[in-house]
Amino acid sequence: MARMNREATVRRLLAQSPPPVPPELHAEAVRRGTRMLRRRELARRTMWLLLLVAAVVFVVWALTVRAWVEPPPGTAPPLTGR
């Protein structure tokens, strides 16, 4: 019972004198929120672009090097000259 009373007292104390809401709160929040969204979008696009570039570079490199083709023998057969 005493605890309920204490809580009610503090709750009353906290509830008094609410601050006035500034009129620009909503507009400012939307402005910052839109900026956050735009940045996030930009970061996502940049990541996809980097991934695409990396994939293209890899494919071009693989096609030029052709690592899966057996390399030609490095040594020539011995010359037995006449």
Binding site: V10, L14, P18, L25, H26, A29, R32, R35
Partner: protein, 167 residues
């Protein structure tokens, strides 16, 4: 593609405006209690709330039926906890306004008391929100209640005067 985007943006803007109009006052009160500022001079609380609302706006489409109020409150609490940590020990720390009912509490005590009592968040949820064990939250809460309910301390000079008068 473009018209669908536009209609979604318009819907989000409408919903968000209604949300801020409905919950803004209570959230600003919560923020002002946290920062222990005067009700009519609360730049820190306004800044905290603006950032929390902006983050809520940015994740509005991903809420999927979750209560946006819970989300904003969570951002408010984490933003305040981070700010209090950065400010910790700095010389230029703003003193709490003496008119605030929570002026004599530490930032963490204010956070726990406001979440538990003013916002009515359950003990386990508060613990999860702050990353503390539930026993710790209970201990901080009881200490904060004791400080708020104890009569205000008299300035040191007044106490000395009383003692001098007695002797």
């Amino acid at each position: 593609m473009r018209p669908r985007h536009a209609s979604r943006d318009a819907l989000r803007a409408r919903e968000f405006e209604a949300y801020v109009a409905g919950a803004g006052g209570r959230l600003l009160h919560t923020a002002t209690l946290l920062t222990a500022e005067a009700p009519d001079d609360n730049p820190r609380a306004r800044h905290l709330l603006t950032l929390a609302l902006a983050r809520t706006y940015a994740c509005w489409d991903g809420l999927r039926g979750d209560d946006p109020y819970d989300r904003t409150r969570q951002y408010l609490a984490s933003g305040f906890a981070r700010g209090a940590w950065h400010r910790h020990g700095r010389l230029l720390r703003r003193r709490p306004h003496p008119g605030s009912p929570l002026a004599r509490l530490s930032p963490r005590e204010r956070l726990v008391l406001v979440l538990r009592l003013y916002e009515g968040v359950a003990e386990e949820q508060t613990a999860a929100l702050l990353g503390l064990p539930a026993e710790r939250v209970r201990a901080v809460y009881h200490r904060a209640m004791a400080v708020v309910l104890s009569p205000p301390r008299r300035p040191a000079g007044a106490v000395r005067d009383v003692q001098a008068a007695r002797s």
